[in-house]
Symmetry: C2
Subunit: 677 residues, 2 copies
Amino acid sequence: MAVVGVMRIFVFFLTFYISLYCANSAATDIELDAKAQFTHRIDSLNLLLYTFLLILTVLTIWLFKHRRFRFLHETGLAVIYGLIVGALIRYAGSKTPVLHMSVTPEKDSKYNLSLPPDTLWLRFPNRGSNPPLPNKTYAYAFREEIVDIEDNEMDLKATFDPEIFFNIILPPIIFHAGYSLKRKYFFRNLGAILTYALIGTTISSFVVGALMYGFIHQMPNLKGSFTFLDTLYFGALISSTDPLTILAIFNDLHVDVNLYALVFGESVLNDAVAIVLSGSIQNYGERYQSGTGGFETQAFFRALGDFFGIFTLSLLIGALMGCITAILTKFTHVRDFPLLESALFVLMSYSTFLIAEASELTGVVAVLFCGICQAHYTYNNLSADSRSRTKKLFELLNFLAENFIFSYIGVSMFTFPKHHFDPGFIFAGFFCAMLGRAVNIYPLSFLLNLGRKPKIPLNFQHMLFFAGLRGAMSFALAIRNTVSDARQAMLTTTSLIVIVTVIVQGGATMQLLTWFKIPVGVEEEVEMLPYAGVRSVYSSMGTTDVEMAEPSRESGGGSRLNDKAWLARIWADFDVKYMKPFLTHARPTLLETLPVCCNPIARILTTTEQMTQDNRSRSQLDSDSDLCIEENELSYGDQRRTSVQRSDSLIASGDLGLGNRLMDTRVRVPGPGGKDI
Amino acid sequence: MAVVGVMRIFVFFLTFYISLYCANSAATDIELDAKAQFTHRIDSLNLLLYTFLLILTVLTIWLFKHRRFRFLHETGLAVIYGLIVGALIRYAGSKTPVLHMSVTPEKDSKYNLSLPPDTLWLRFPNRGSNPPLPNKTYAYAFREEIVDIEDNEMDLKATFDPEIFFNIILPPIIFHAGYSLKRKYFFRNLGAILTYALIGTTISSFVVGALMYGFIHQMPNLKGSFTFLDTLYFGALISSTDPLTILAIFNDLHVDVNLYALVFGESVLNDAVAIVLSGSIQNYGERYQSGTGGFETQAFFRALGDFFGIFTLSLLIGALMGCITAILTKFTHVRDFPLLESALFVLMSYSTFLIAEASELTGVVAVLFCGICQAHYTYNNLSADSRSRTKKLFELLNFLAENFIFSYIGVSMFTFPKHHFDPGFIFAGFFCAMLGRAVNIYPLSFLLNLGRKPKIPLNFQHMLFFAGLRGAMSFALAIRNTVSDARQAMLTTTSLIVIVTVIVQGGATMQLLTWFKIPVGVEEEVEMLPYAGVRSVYSSMGTTDVEMAEPSRESGGGSRLNDKAWLARIWADFDVKYMKPFLTHARPTLLETLPVCCNPIARILTTTEQMTQDNRSRSQLDSDSDLCIEENELSYGDQRRTSVQRSDSLIASGDLGLGNRLMDTRVRVPGPGGKDI
């Protein structure tokens, strides 16, 4: 009932909104101030439109969750509502008449630079026109270069500057991904995740780029407007995945944590790879624009250097800022004032993004690794108040930002003026995106399985392939630059791929889980990959803190991970021995781990809290166990209970065809130390 | 130590920042893309500057709080840091060379409207210049009208569009003020608060306006540039107060809750009055610009109608949206999914602002009353998770927004290009602001005391007078329009008044409390005004829920409030009988309060939760008691304990000269139902 009420209000405002646009056409003689006020009203209405779309999405998704209808995720719903409203605005509203004028420099202008001026001052000459032109000077600010005058109506209904996606919408999403990462499982699968994200995304980019270039050469109408760099850019942007919908379902159904870690970890990192890769491609293009798309070896290696340099430096800045925050929260008593502490946390994290952007690095990448470090170190030093405050803050920001961007994708499909629908390119785009994903997953999984002891089974590979939904990052990269026809065709195709994958692949996830016989309802302690054997040892040791125990695994013997995770192990060892004692209140202290000669320094770097800590509180201090359950705990409150009920009912109806195996896991009695959350 | 480290980093970035500005002067031949990237870097650096200022403020204020140094509030500190950094940028950095060009319409232009065009397309004619001018078309967007060409360098270092204050910074501050209002004490002093805020602010505006006009007529250099409307606008904007610093100290020292309510309530409402009043004055000016400042009766009454119309409608929209949120959260089970619920809450609150702005009303006023309604009704329906999440979210946003605006006031004092320092105007401004405040408080207090039983003692009146710090709202109104010389002089004066009052009056608060013999260390249950008698009856009745019991006060007899608070009483009665049962899960239900004939409707509007609620949980559901302690509970964690210790030490050293009275209140044994938090 209430939902219907809101819908009515919404329709009312939509009508109001449209009528306002229409009203504008009669309003050519109002004064300047009134005009400014009008512009402000339009801006407010644009924002209001999205706010209402989000309210509608929230209410509908609540209804779906309430009725246990799981085929549509909130982002899918946001896209659909966006499409509907976008179409309404497009076809119901009249065009906003933007008044424009062509101007030339004044006769005695001394301007002689090749750059366009930043500002123009418009003065009207005293010609006898009727009505007389105003005897005033107006200032204008530079906006863009116009390539295609015919097409440029600047009809910016319900659209925003594309840069806001990079500077406002993406950072909280990416930070939250890092901050809420289930690091235990992430690091356990680090090798596979890095392979897919770094190598896989690069392969996929080049394969898509090359294939698209080939396709386009078969299409006479497109041939001229695309260079190889253009298609490569498309390859890079379409290779970043965003499997939100699938992860939400994984989470609800308790799909195997390692599969979850693979899908989530890869999607987080390939966003970072895609943005840096596309940046390098663009830089390459700007520096060595040869027009023919010719290849220069030196330039190529420079671009490669760019790629690794920017990625590594961004990563380091992010990690460094995370560590500085950890030091600030450890060595000051700012946690006595949780509000100050939370503010410090937010400000430090945001400044990471800004520092990276100001240094011509990639803020998104920096913020991702800052988030991971904040979760790994700083989180442990925070007061309880700040922990919950920051978690909940970023969760909420992430939710709003994600749904906003998907609404925007829907609305902009109709209202963004720079779309270029080309059926050939769209078809090729869909095909190549699919193929690129396959080329990433299957060959690399094969190679990984050669060296990897707990192999990635084929059904997991299929699921990884299908988890290749495209989302926020692809769209943000596509809409960033829409100057040329080629770029506009890319934007259209990317938008369509995002919409279709989110709705179709997202909606099919439940079905696919059944088809691929992916085990659901798996408790965290019982994984399907053979790690379980190793873990149960630690479980029965009465500690839930597996990562802490990891370094001793070697000496404990019987570990099947030794031959693979050596890098992760060295890092974990270093982390537990030096980083955590230095940056957090964790035991052992540096006094215990550093050689005796360093005692004075160790003394300074060890806090009283650290010294007086008993062993019992150690696992409580370590955030990993916290963070591993965070998503379940926070995302949708007491949904865990209902989702267990749901999977019960699924088993009863047998529609997942997993009866036996599932039952096995569900009758398990938790070990003495195993948390049965 | 860590603070020193951060300072070093800060200095490093400042140097970097300045050097970047200098570097710009040699960068005239880089390409367009590089230029865009450079602009982006500058934008990032500008934001980074403020982020670092805020980090520095947070760390320093922590140090102050840690060392119990209470003469400087965080906002005062933010202003001081802002001033230092602003001066550094101004005198160390070189001027950013903005490239500008004067243009005229193309010869065959058919543009014949009196309005300036929205966009310009700049094309260079093919004249033989060296280097050749680019053969491209550039788009420019309208920015402003230029009045004084000499002065217009558009040197926008470290400055932002003034509109962001109204659309981004003020809404969360004002919403938080409404959401965290101690409503119990607010409503009890409603009469006095409304008198000060509505009548007092209006009187003050007109007195300041008239006086300033008189002053200016004595100053030959200013005489020509100010109309009476200009000075009246100044009167309106300088009449809004922002006693953050003083409230923080009141809170720390547990100053009498009614004095707190008077100061806080007045400052919240006079912001709303000032913004609407200044809007009406501006509208009046635009509509009836007679140049001479002449007076038109009809126009005046129309402006008066404007004022009340806009204020009332904004209030109603805010209240309505609050009630809709309450209904949505009551009748749906969205609270099963706290994240969705919090998102809904935030979106509804934000849309209130946008709806009001889009309807040409005042978003700030709407958001204030929305906040009050959200706290009064919706808060009761929220899940525990959402309660804490929304409280903490807005608390954090408020903190960041407040400190940002005060940093900005400091920095912009040096970097904002449109300042006009006129010693005469500044002196007159300070004098009139002080006098305006006195004219608000003393005569109205005298009148109020005639009818009011618990009189407002003279020392409270002095404190109210000194609590007239100016802040965010005055500054935002002053910087909104800086086209004319008059407006620029107003901005400069307002900035200076804000800075001086925040630092000097804020710093003197402790001293003033001693001088005025204002009781500190007062527990909420023991107020200095004679309400205490009434309240203790309810305390001993074993209920902490005074507001719920209020309607029965009349029949209970012995109430000294009867002769004054009749309006508040009628409202409270209606609220408890109809509004709360309708909008929240509170008892009594509508089934009990509505006449029998309305039973079917009442049935629909009563939820199962409401029916099954026992009386015990009633007071828990009612948010008032929660919200009354909210600030103490949340603001600075376990500071309450330390502040009690502090006031203990204050008593010991006797420097507040209140020994006896204070001791009386502190030895009090809490009644059976009295919370001794």
